[in-house]
């Protein structure tokens, strides 16, 4: 299967030793060679000393899903030797640090074992333990550059870009790269059977993680208030927003900020800040993960019942409870869709990659203000923390924020009487006023029972009038959500439905199934509530597969509940081990099912 510009390799090291930068270097170099590439960082939930892996997939055809098999493993962490060697595909290669004698765990038949004494080379070449450990990573990058034919000029330029201002560092890095490179060249016949050849497939692409992209979306949407409490894997989103604000939102002269970022005491407070700011008229958001979503439930219900806009980025991780904070999952779907006690329904967006994370971040703020309600962007660790190769982000300067129905002083002057929750247009959306606009627009927000005039009530009919309007509003939102991405092939046998980061693997699986003679249509759902297109796809296919990354088939449940679609007609394909989905999982499940049906 592997070959020129079509292979995958994995590096197993220990976290906190600086391997990340070496891995990034490799990935970026390949990208700059114009060859489509993706990297998946599988890291532990601590700061230093535990096993960590980095998987890089090179695909001339542009497949970005996590590879099912790896052609080459670089095993640099003794504690995981056995496990790592086992993942080399038959006929594949193993690269280890031959400073020490070949460890028995590393011995395996049917693969080629290569040794480079990275440790030893660095020991001779450099001073000080810290430097030696760090540069050992650069050295293996050099070795891989030789084995895979990575353009050393590009690597050189990148090192210069990075360490240009620090000559000593620059020099040592250059030397370290060379150590590995030269040793490999001298001892093995490079390149390996699978290697790189320059292409021109990445010109209009970038390498970006989803947290950065969502932060950019918030910046461009004009968000001014960010409130958060640190939590993996969401932390980087607000840190990126902060970085962008410091770059684009600080007044040159005064040094004053056109933004406010509040690191709250916990997620409950973060939600409260966002809701207070949204009520006051700012575009406000928070970034969190599962545990935070659980803690925010009460506040989410308040915003829902009082028609207050708020944007929540849920960078999902592996649950339940603390779970595996550095593993990915799509298991918060029910918690988001029906967040909070009582009858509640919420708008949710499902980006598939960082680029869509950027776009949906902007949409989230528009939807939140237009429908005056909480909106969730259901990202995940894979999207949020891995570098994805996506098309360059684009911006249309004609974009204007959709602030929804807001009555300013003039508009107020023209109305007889202002009733906060009066549904004039029949779309369930009532015009709001912002505090400070004037006495006529003053009203009292309360999470307790209220009528359409925002007055306190314990009357059944008046109470129902308001919650019925909220239901109507939710139904109207369906048409405003991003439509699903549907790819139809003629004579399709089956329909596949998926969401979010499963997309890459599912699209790849579609091609592989096609090659097996199983023709499939694919629909990737992008928003909740579901629009008519979703229903049409279901009805068109009768029976479908629903592919998602959780144990309990949560997307399937949402489809059954909201579209009254028979669950029996939706066969779940579930992957919830915490790693990004591979096409193989989908292919095997569908093929097996189809075979089953035909026997």
């Amino acid at each position: 299967m592997s070959g020129i510009n079509d292979f995958a390799f994995k590096i197993g090291t220990v976290n906190g030793t600086g391997s990340a930068s070496a891995n990034g270097l490799l990935m970026q170099a390949i990208f700059r060679m114009g060859v489509p590439v993706t990297g998946k960082n599988l890291f532990p939930s601590n700061i230093q000393g535990l096993p960590t892996w980095y998987e890089i997939r090179v695909s001339k055809d542009g497949y970005t899903a996590r590879p099912a098999a790896v052609d080459l493993v670089v095993a640099l962490n003794p504690s995981t030797y056995a496990k790592d060697v086992a993942t080399v595909r038959p006929g594949g290669f193993l690269l280890y640090d031959s400073t020490w004698p070949l460890h028995p765990d590393l011995v395996r038949e049917g693969i080629t074992i290569l040794g480079i004494p990275f440790g030893g080379l660095c020991l001779e070449a450099f001073e000080g333990d810290r430097d030696r450990t760090l540069l050992r990573n650069i050295a293996y990058a050099g070795g891989l550059a030789a084995l895979l034919d990575i353009d050393m000029e590009i690597v050189g330029t990148m090192l210069t870009e990075k360490y240009g201002r620090k000559p000593k560092l620059l020099d040592s890095n250059h030397r370290a790269i060379r150590l590995g490179y030269d040793y490999a060249k001298a001892h093995f016949d490079c390149p390996l059977p699978f290697s790189l050849v320059p292409m021109d497939e990445t010109r209009d692409s970038i390498l970006m993680d989803g947290n950065t992209a969502c932060a950019l979306g918030a910046l461009y949407a004009g968000a001014t208030v960010g409130a958060w409490y640190p939590i993996t894997p969401a932390t980087a989103l607000m840190e990126a927003f902060k970085g962008f604000c410091e770059k684009y939102r600080v007044d040159r002269e005064t040094g004053l900020h056109n933004y406010a970022i509040l690191q709250a005491e916990d997620e409950i407070a973060a939600a409260g800040i966002v809701i207070g700011a949204g009520w006051a008229g700012a575009r406000a958001f928070t970034n969190t993960s599962g545990p935070g979503i659980s803690l925010m439930q009460e506040f989410i219900g308040l915003a829902y019942y009082t028609d207050i806009p708020a944007v929540f980025f849920d960078v999902q991780r592996c649950g339940p409870a603390t779970g595996m904070p550095t593993r990915t999952q799509q298991a918060d779907l029910l918690s988001l869709a029906y967040a909070s006690h009582g009858d509640t329904k919420h708008l949710v967006l499902f980006p598939a990659d960082p680029r869509e994370g950027f776009e949906m971040a902007v949409q989230a703020f528009d939807l939140a203000e237009r429908f005056q309600t909480p909106v969730f962007v259901a990202s995940d660790l894979d999207i949020g923390m891995n570098d994805w190769m996506v098309k360059r982000l684009e911006w249309d300067d004609d974009y204007r924020p959709d602030r929804g129905k807001v009555l300013d002083a003039d508009a107020l002057a023209s109305v007889q009487k202002f009733s906060r929750y009066l549904d004039v247009d029949g779309d369930g959306i009532a015009a709001r006023t912002l505090p400070g606009v004037g006495a006529k627009g003053a009203y009292f927000v309360r999470g307790s029972g209220h009528d359409k005039h925002a007055a306190y009530t314990e009357d059944s009919d008046l109470y129902q009038e308001v919650v019925d309007r909220l239901k109507r509003k939710f139904e109207h939102a369906a048409a405003a959500m991003p439509t699903p991405v549907v790819s139809l092939r003629d004579r399709a046998d089956v329909g596949l439905i998926t969401i979010g980061s499963c997309d890459a693997a599912v699209r790849e699986a579609a091609d592989l199934l096609d090659a097996q003679g199983i023709v499939v249509d694919v629909m990737r759902i992008r928003g909740f509530p579901f629009g008519t297109e979703v229903r049409q796809f279901l009805e068109r296919h009768g029976h479908v597969f629903v592919i998602e990354q959780n144990r309990d088939a949560q997307l399937r449940s949402l489809l059954a509940i909201e579209l009254s679609y028979a669950p029996d007609l939706m066969t779940p394909i579930l992957d919830y081990g915490g790693l990004p989905l591979t096409a193989k999982v989908v292919v095997d499940a569908v093929a097996a099912h189809v075979a089953g049906v035909h026997t």
Binding site: Q28, R32, T202, I206, M208, L216, L219, Y220, G222, T224, V225, A227, Y248, D251, L256, H257, N258, Y259, A260, L262, A264, E265, D266, I268, A269, A270, A271, G272, I273, V274, I275, G276, A277, G278, W279, A280, G281, A282, A284, E298, F299, L302, R392, L393, E394, W395, R400, L434, P435, G436, A439, G441, A442, Y443, F444, V445, R446, G447, S448, Y456
Partner: protein, 351 residues
């Protein structure tokens, strides 16, 4: 019946202030609290203070959590936006509103349950953030709305209506605030409007979070013999540590005739607060002495009241955050969005 018809104090609703507004204009909906509830008196004091300060009603925002006390934001300043949020979370909602629109005057009303039990964390961190707001804690030692369970401010040995006595050490909002670095800490009594009104005015003028702990008896569940938050007990044990006069910008300050030591604090808006300590060894601008004094009073079962500590030099949330003077809600979108060219340029950094 008006929101403040219930409390004893009556007022001439007719006189107008500098804005041509009468007291009535600062009132709200009809109170649904029990007749005689201390909270209604606090409401009356707030109406009075706002009227005297000539606040623009629609430029103020009333924030609260959940509880009888938290309901009172509906009973004053009907021309202001109000936000009755969830239990114990008013501080975070107010922090967010203030972050978005720093130009409004925020009046937060809470209770001892709302602020010292479920909301202790939020109160504490709002103090650290030093959000510009008047924070009135209507303290009655019980959860009124849920029918009289002890709150975290109940004193050891204080008995419930059923005769049970409280075992746990109380949380004194004043000592807590002083410990957490609050820059305006006061205590008063709903039954002492003359003391309360100037304190509220000073709090509204303060550059940061002004915590006012108001003993506000619950007539239905904690006004009996044996309660240390009853009208009777508070009247007996109240000791005014600092007498407060609020002198608006316009008015000339009168030098005290008496030889008492008086501290004059100039608020950031130019108004001045004249603080007269009733005991020589008390300095309302010294955090340590304030703390020690309040503790000493406690030891003798005395309730120290007055504007106990003020530090007008503190930095509020926006100074710490370096936000622009323009409320963020008023910053035009054009200034917020870097635009296409910037994005295109930025893309190069991700290759």
């Amino acid at each position: 019946m008006t929101s403040i018809a219930k409390p004893p104090v009556r007022h001439p609703g007719s006189r107008t202030n500098g804005r041509g507004l009468t007291l009535r204009d600062y009132e709200g909906a009809m109170s649904t609290l029990c007749a005689g509830c201390g909270h209604d008196s606090v409401t009356a004091a707030i109406v009075q203070a706002a009227w005297e300060l000539e606040l623009e009603p629609h430029r103020a925002a009333k924030m609260s959590g959940i509880g009888c006390s938290s309901k009172t934001t509906a009973y004053f300043m009907k021309q202001s936006h109000g936000f009755n949020s969830v239990h114990g979370r008013m501080p975070s909602v107010t922090s967010g509103a203030s972050a978005a629109n720093r130009a409004l005057t925020y009046i937060g009303i809470s209770g001892d349950g709302d602020s010292l039990s479920i909301g202790l964390g939020q109160l504490s961190h709002a103090i650290r953030r030093n959000v510009r707001m008047l924070y009135v804690l209507e303290n009655n030692g019980v959860y009124g709305l849920t029918k009289g369970q002890f709150s975290a401010s109940a004193d050891i040995g204080s008995t419930s209506k059923k005769g049970e006595s409280n075992e746990q050490a109380p949380i004194d909002p004043v000592l807590l605030a002083l410990t957490l670095g609050a820059t305006f800490v006061a205590r008063s009594f709903s039954g002492d409007k003359t003391q309360l009104v100037p304190i509220l005015k000073a709090g509204l003028a303060h550059n940061g979070l002004a915590l006012v702990d108001v003993i506000s008896p619950c007539v239905s569940f904690n006004d009996h013999e044996g309660s240390t938050k009853s009208y009777a007990y508070t009247r007996e044990h109240e000791v005014e540590a600092v007498h407060t006069d609020f002198v608006p910008l316009q008015r000339e300050i009168v030098i005290p005739e008496t030889g008492e030591d008086v501290t004059v604090v100039t608020m950031h808006d130019g108004a001045r607060v004249r603080l007269r300590s009733t005991s020589a060894d008390y300095d309302p601008t010294n955090r340590e002495s304030a703390y020690a004094y309040v503790r000493a009073c406690q030891a003798q079962h005395e309730i120290a009241t007055g504007l106990l500590f003020v530090d007008e030099s503190g930095r509020d949330m926006h100074e710490m955050m370096k936000t622009v003077p323009t409320p963020l809600v008023d910053v035009p979108y054009a200034q917020l969005c870097p635009g296409k060219s910037a994005l295109d340029a930025l893309m190069e950094r991700y290759r």
